[in-house]
């Protein structure tokens, strides 16, 4: 019962966004600290590049682009699920404590774990993932009531509470730390792409490969959950079961993304919002758009940020906010 014109619009939009993603990836492959000119891209991709060219492309730039793309998609999907389940347009992975949980875990680990730098880089995403999942579990535990089950409002309130408390804890933690360590942590919190390496890609890819089709399969149920509860029950939706499954999906996705990107949350708010503004509230249509949009946005933000300031660049999280916030305000302004 969707207007055929809307379906067509969604298809075109998806195509355009995917094309944009491809363009950003190609541009991103040729931009960076060490030079790899665009006319050398194709030969290098086909295996005819020099050792240096191949190293820059396959070991430095491509992994980073891919991981950024995947993380953007995961964050957007997580946000889309959360906004549907909580019936709150301002919901994003941050509200269930994902970012601050990962942040505290990283800070604790970084400040107190006696470990050498080599193993450290690989452990970081694992620590962040564990922190995020642990926090989400706490939020579930405290918001679950035996009588009423999992109420979205409670999840959001307790999630925000946890977020605040953990952010506070983090300030206490880092205020007594040394200068360089604080620098590192604050950079992580600002959302820096961390796990730009093939093993991390293989670690987060399965989540997406499974959870994207799974969520699309659940799109119908998300539609019903975003109406109010009596209506959803009335048409025979097992509300509590579906809500729990979908919230777990959102947590898994967000935790995966945060583990490699640090504290980027804005994508999870922005992408689903934009998708809904573009193709309406039906999740069959807006979830795919949100996913592709999230990937493209984070890629764009990171590619720009990476090249604005040498050699470290501006963290992607900050770039996302810089690009996204004005557009977001424009949307809100247009609405009212």
């Amino acid at each position: 019962m969707i207007h055929p014109a809307l379906v067509r619009k969604q298809r075109i939009l998806l195509f355009v966004l995917l094309a944009m993603t491809a363009v950003i990836i190609v541009i991103g492959m040729g931009m960076g600290y060490s030079s790899l000119s665009y006319d050398r891209l194709l030969p290098t991709l086909l295996g005819e590049g020099t050792f240096k060219e191949e190293f820059v492309l396959f070991e430095v730039r491509l992994p980073r682009l891919i991981i950024t793309w995947l993380a953007g998609m995961a964050l957007a999907l997580s946000g889309a699920i959360l906004q549907g389940v909580t019936r709150n347009d301002l919901a994003e992975p941050g509200v269930i404590g994902i970012n601050s949980g990962a942040g505290v875990a990283i800070s604790l680990f970084f400040l107190f774990a006696p470990i050498d730098a080599g193993a450290f880089a690989y452990l970081l995403p694992v620590i962040a993932f564990a922190g995020a999942i642990l926090t989400a579990l706490c939020v579930y535990f405290f918001s679950f009531s035996k009588r009423t089950g999992l109420q979205p409002v409670r999840v959001v309130l307790i999630g925000v509470g946890f977020s605040m408390a953990l952010s506070g804890a983090m300030i206490v933690l880092i205020s007594s730390a040394e200068r360089e360590k604080v620098d590192f942590i604050s950079k992580w919190l600002a959302g820096n792409i961390w796990g730009a390496d093939w093993p991390f890609i293989w670690a987060i890819l399965p989540w997406l490969v499974i959870l994207i089709p799974f969520t699309l399969y659940k799109a119908n149920r998300l539609n019903l959950l975003s109406l109010n509860e009596p209506v959803a029950i009335g048409v025979g939706l097992a509300v509590e079961k579906e809500r729990l499954i979908l919230l777990l999906t959102a947590v898994a996705l967000a935790a995966t993304a945060v583990s490699v990107t640090g504290g980027i949350a804005f994508i999870g708010l922005l992408a689903p919002h934009l998708a809904k503004a573009l193709v309406g509230p039906r999740h069959q249509l807006n979830v795919p758009v949100a996913i592709v949009l999230g990937g493209a946005l984070l890629l764009l933000a990171d590619t720009i940020g990476r090249n604005l300031a040498d050699p470290d660049g501006i963290p992607a999280g900050i770039m996302v906010a810089l690009i996204g916030a004005p557009y977001f305000m424009y949307l809100l302004w247009k609405k009212s």
Partner: protein, 263 residues
Amino acid sequence: MARLYTEDLSIGYGERLIVKTLSVQIPDKKITTIIGSNGCGKSTLLKAMTRIISHQGGTVILDGESISKENTKVLARKMAILPQTPESASGLTVGELVSYGRFPYQSGLGRLTKKDYEAIDWALEVTGTKEFKYRPVDALSGGQRQRVWIAMALAQETEIIFLDEPTTYLDLAHQLEVLELLQKLNVEQDRKIVMVLHDLNQAARFADYMIALKDGQVVKAGRCEDVMKPDVLKKVFQIDAEIGRDPRTNKPMCITYNLAKGE
């Protein structure tokens, strides 16, 4: 025995019981209205009968099965609910919302079949909302919106339809329009309608069977003539009512009333 009835049903929020050991039958193929003063438990009863809230004790039986044991999707093919203040997602079109009523018949990805489309079109047709099919629900007026929600419940193709104060927020003409639509569905298609109504005279005018509640217990259940009596209304609403006949429909109606004195 009716297909739908409650047995010693107790419902409460927390410690406080709102409905206490209530047993009532909902007659088949009829329009039943539930009346009572504010907080008497009429909405609560409706919600418990439709599994929107769980009950503390007793059972609700539909076709010989307790509804709390029945699969929720199977139940949704038997009963549809129009809650008191349904909310639509912003921007959702009428056709899309009504199509959600087909959920109990869908499996897997939830693609709409030809049969689904027929049910949706029919529901839009009888409720007179076909012209709004591609318009967003939130752009409609209160009366139009209420008809759209009824269309969604109709698309569910259930024998029983529950409605919780379907005429709230509507003006007089629209109230009657909604109630007449329900009556038509009952007469032409044998649908069983159960609704909570605030307006006593409307309840009597459209009902075949009335249930009067006070403090979570049945004061009187039966034909309108048996319920619309001064002594019943005095107990239920604390009013001293003058009962006459509606000159047009010949149904009992409360012509005027005073607050009951004494006691």
